[in-house]
Symmetry: C2
Subunit: 389 residues, 2 copies
């Protein structure tokens, strides 16, 4: 580790972090007239408990967290998760056999909900944009039939809370960004004309891990002559060729927090159109960064960046970032809630180069009281050139 | 690559694979009286289209696939996915702006469903065990209010089809197993007393990538004196110590197909109890393998393995495997449908060693006409010992 590499932030959070999240949620629940929240997804459960495992990759079992409007959260989880959940700050952890005949998980969840909420009260379930309910639809129907409470949406409470990150959260995202930044710096070691794109993807993930990533849940990219067709494709076996633009986009994770940014490289010297497109993308990012300050809106960022691009972008120009690779809100012209300190977002301008080719640049920033700070290290205007070894 | 390493199987599938899946689905839909299936998850969409991207990591957008009982599937997807979906075998690809004001995706989906199904017909949505609906609950309510069709469960059609793998699918899983096997063989190069578990996790993922994994969506493991507390935890910063049992469990992926198996290692010579527990786990796996033949049931496998373990296991003793890290059915005493050729499953015996410590072994097998074949390379009875460098 060089003298310029700070030590990684501590893992986990002090318990006060979870108390704060819970209190803020409960204040909003009280205002929305909700007796409890029922949460079911990885990010929702982890946000309030710190429960971190990649076991959510298995769809077999449902996991539940009940947040009453007063008192501590109650975990209602499969037995296989008990050992790990007991290491969290929660004291009320109820477990059920799963898989199992019948529906012991639903039985336990129904009992818990009825115990924690008064008859006739309302239970909020995240239902708005970017949410999912992580349980089978048939079980959801059963639950609603069994619990004499009104299930409604969560008044967007969880999404609103998660939009604003604490300093320790931002430190984790910054660490993920620093890790991916070190990996991007080493791309020229392994990417050059003749190397298949799938080998570049593999080596890039290895570089992220070597630089300190816990895991690399997301990688996408593309390579094509003077641009590429999209930014979400998996690798092909095609070798890089001189004149290609190589784009790598990664979501590397440190302690459960993502970075999400990309880098473009030119295989050999860039065509003039590529060089100028890259410079324009960087300029748009810089203009977006300058516009990012409390009180401005996502729409302001969008307009500032779109102005530099000089064309109407096809999609959003950035998004929130944190426990998930992408989070709300989006950098779009109709998002006019003000930016507030603690928001973390990506700036992601896209240029249409014609003939089905695009170029996309992306950086990660955090909002402070006075403006924005870079979490990823802002790229220079010149596209980086990959030369033969 | 040594002479013993066969070349990887080709990526993707011939179009006939998708036609076969569609025809089998449509035959079951006709029998179940379903005019269409509405699919929304990564595995469901990929099963019928081949659409492979890690972009599902972003929760922003919903993606839909409509399978009519007659005719080809129709993709109803965000614009950002059009370029990649056009490389699939599908010809009818409808795109919507997302994120966007209003709900253009729901509008387009509703129109598509009404166009493809007659009034008064029924549309199936996967709703049973291990399924999820990947769209916001509020959107689901809107859709049901807008489309004058009866939405019901999919009669388990997608799960039933996915249980039996084709030869090209099994080849991909076998490749993922071979890749992870090579990585496990190299664990002694980097894991020894003094190395923090989180470094072992990182290095192991790098070994998987170097061996040819496209990505490593799942890793779990543990290390503890003469056993460990669970099998789903993330790494800690604690260094391995002599006498520890190190368990690593991975879901490495090749071309969208998972392996899922683990290996146990003893840091220094094992205690007698550890050595004998390992030998018993291997024996249970071998007995499960021998019992795995068409006509036997998952319950038979469970009973055969549990008999060797000599204790009542806390959970299941294996599960299906393929496009997801875990798939149904589970190896449990109440699963009495017969095994059929083409099923791929894990054998995962667990021993409770007392004092909150367990040991778990796991291998991957495929069912053939005459019995089972190993996809992972069956482990010897002796636990592998990690010695100082």
């Amino acid at each position: 580790m060089s003298e310029h590499t700070p030590p990684p932030p501590p893992r986990g959070f002090p318990e006060a972090e979870y108390h704060g999240r819970l209190m803020r949620a409960q204040a909003l629940m009280a205002r929305a007239g909700l007796a409890a929240l029922l949460l079911s997804t990885e990010a929702e459960v982890r946000y309030f408990t710190g429960y971190l495992t990649r076991f959510w990759e298995s769809p077999t079992r449902a996991w539940y967290l009940v947040l009453p409007v007063d008192g501590d959260p109650v975990a209602v989880i499969p037995e296989i998760g008990a050992h790990l959940m007991r290491q969290s700050w929660l004291s009320d952890i109820r477990t059920f056999a799963a898989p199992a005949p019948g529906a012991p998980g639903l039985d336990l969840l129904a009992e818990t909900l009825e115990e924690l909420t008064p008859k006739g009260s309302r239970i909020g379930v995240p239902s708005g944009p970017e949410t999912q309910l992580r349980m089978p639809l048939a079980d959801w129907a059963t639950l609603r039939g069994r619990v004499a409470r009104a299930f409604r949406d969560d008044a967007n409470i969880v999404a609103v809370l998660r939009r604003v990150k604490s300093a320790p959260e931002i430190a984790k995202i910054a660490q993920a960004c620093a890790i991916a930044g070190r990996a991007f710096d080493r791309v020229p070691e392994m990417a050059r004309a003749g190397v298949p794109l799938e080998e570049v993807f593999r080596r890039f993930q290895m570089l992220c891990l070597e630089a300190g990533a816990d895991c690399v849940p997301y990688i996408a990219g593309a390579a094509g002559a003077a641009g590429y067709g999209d930014v979400i494709s998996p690798a092909t076996g095609l070798p890089l060729a001189r004149g290609d633009v190589l784009m790598l986009d990664t979501g590397a994770v440190f302690d459960g927090y993502f970075c999400d940014f990309d880098r473009n490289f030119s295989v050999g010297p860039p065509e003039a159109a590529v060089a100028s497109a890259h410079a324009r993308l960087i300029e748009a990012t810089q203009v977006g960064f300058a516009a990012a300050r409390p009180g401005a809106t996502h729409a302001d960022l969008y307009r500032a960046m779109a102005g530099v691009l000089g064309q109407r972008p096809a999609g959003r120009l950035g998004h929130g970032l944190g426990m998930q690779l992408t989070e709300g809100p989006s950098v779009v012209p109709w998002e006019d809630a003000p930016l507030v300190p603690g928001m973390v977002l990506t700036l992601e301008p896209c240029l249409d180069l014609g003939s089905g080719r695009i170029m996309v640049h992306e950086e990660d920033i955090a909002l402070t009281e006075t403006g924005a700070v870079w979490l990823s290290q802002a790229s220079p205007a010149e596209i980086r050139v990959l030369e033969p070894a």
